[in-house]
Amino acid sequence: MISLKNIDKVYRTDRIETTALRSINIEIEKGELVSVMGPSGCGKSTLLNIMGLLDKPSHGNVLIEGQKVDQFGDIKLAALRNKKIGFIFQSFHLINDLSVVDNVELPLIYRLIPGRARRKLAMEALERVGLSTRTKHFPNQLSGGQRQRVAIARAIVGRPEIILADEPTGNLDSMMGAEIMDILLGLNRDDNATIIMVTHDELLAKQTQRIIRLFDGAQVS
């Protein structure tokens, strides 16, 4: 589903050069539930951003379903992100000016799905994460756990094959974290979604099928 070949990522400023990832080679199969672990600053989020086409590697190739995406232009990359990938961020990244249901509809807007159909799909996704009663609320009226549920609903509303979750429970207490993890496990089990999750939590990682460990930008297992 996702192939990373010889990926390096180097951040350069006028004075210093920081290597975030070096010689990464990873294959993720369709329907896999994988966690990425490692100490802070080891490149976990960078790896996830490159997999999700949110960032470009300095060197190496990213393949999604066998397609090399290196040469894709802005419009093609945007379409690929829209159709294939759903993101869940640690800090939720909801748009505060939009209501819960409007936030969830966001990926469908860029697919040019008509309003009524969009609303129906968004309501279904919210129901799935247990938030069908909070659709008119705004993000700042919700708890952290509820916001993350909205973010998950937004990630799954377009039925993407890949879900990338960057520390989805990082800002939540253990009970909320467990609930979010249950939702992710359900998505993998019921929808055969390919899920790659960055986490610091060994207990959560153990619930996934495979753990990729990074240290200083290099893959150690």
Binding site: L54, A79, I109
Partner: protein, 414 residues
Amino acid sequence: MLKNYIKIAFKVMLRNKLFTFISLFGICFTLLFLILLSSVIDYGFGPVKPETKLARTLSITMGSLSTESGGNTMGPLFSPWFFRKYVKPMTTPEKISISSYYNPDVIYRGDKKIKLGIKYTDAEFWDICDFNFLEGQPYNKEEVAATDQVAVINRRLQELYFDGEPTAGKILEYKDKRYLVKGVVDNVSIVRIMPYADIWVPMGHAEIELDKPTLIGGFPGWYASLLAKDKHDIPAIKAEFQKRIENVEFPEGIYNKLLTSASSYQEALARQMFRRQDGNIYPFMMILLGVATIFMLLPAINLVNINMSRIYERASEIGIRKAYGASSIVLTGQFLVENIIITLLGGILSVVMAAIILSIFNRSGILADTTFTINFRVFFVSMGFALFFGILSGVYPAWKMSRLMPVQALEGGE
């Protein structure tokens, strides 16, 4: 998608009330200034009653007389003798009129002192101008030739002198003369300085010797209006006048050079303002353009700054939208819609404010009988400029931001 953009635009405007206020104020202030300025220019320079034939009217008013020793006299200086000798015989205009500027004076009706402006004209004056006669008619050629004691007055003088009663055929006493009022016209704004007066009488009543051979006419100044049959005849009229004054006489004996020309209304006004005899309206237009540019530029720079900070503040939103499938073009479109909405709102507000200000001004009587109106052509041009700056200032940073990798935008555009 458009509905979503509009929804977001209003939400962003409501969220950043201070930014929204500053943006709207900038747009509104610029447009308001331009609308008011254009109203004044329109009223001052445009074809307004009784000067509705401006497009085919020329006037001869400003001139410059030089002496051998380098002395110079400049102003609306010509005498009726000059106009009768060098202008009246012209063949290219359809009609030629000679008249004075208005002379401020007072008349008494019993103990009542009435301030007025008196103007001395010929009969052709009434053909070239397009007065709205409320009563009666103008005096004719024969009455002017015989210097009959006849007059046309305006509504204001009718109200003050005749208490608003029907006036045509009544007598008005002025400087020991008894003028038969032949007609009553609507008031003319003082902004239209050439036809302006409260009472118009045949030119023979002026307290100067009309046929005295002198180039200089003295206070209150005289001018000639030349009406072309067609506006295409104007160059020929100008040329004929120049030809006729080539061998002008200098009866005063001290002057040896005359500079003047037949000019359009706008040129003539510019001459009055800049005391230039060559009728060049270039400096006048440059000043107007300069003022308009400054007023456009300051809010435009302001808008650019506001939009920059507004968009940088929304970097994270741009990142989220990119992550979920928005391309750079789509995002730029979103900001375009937002800027168009705020500019249109500013435009609507400015028209409402301009209408209120003009209505207050028109009713205030600061400039009597002057009715400024909104020039919608100028409004739309100004809106176009405001939209251009709004779009440029909004879309450029949005485009720049949308070109970032989503991860950079999510991190706040760093």
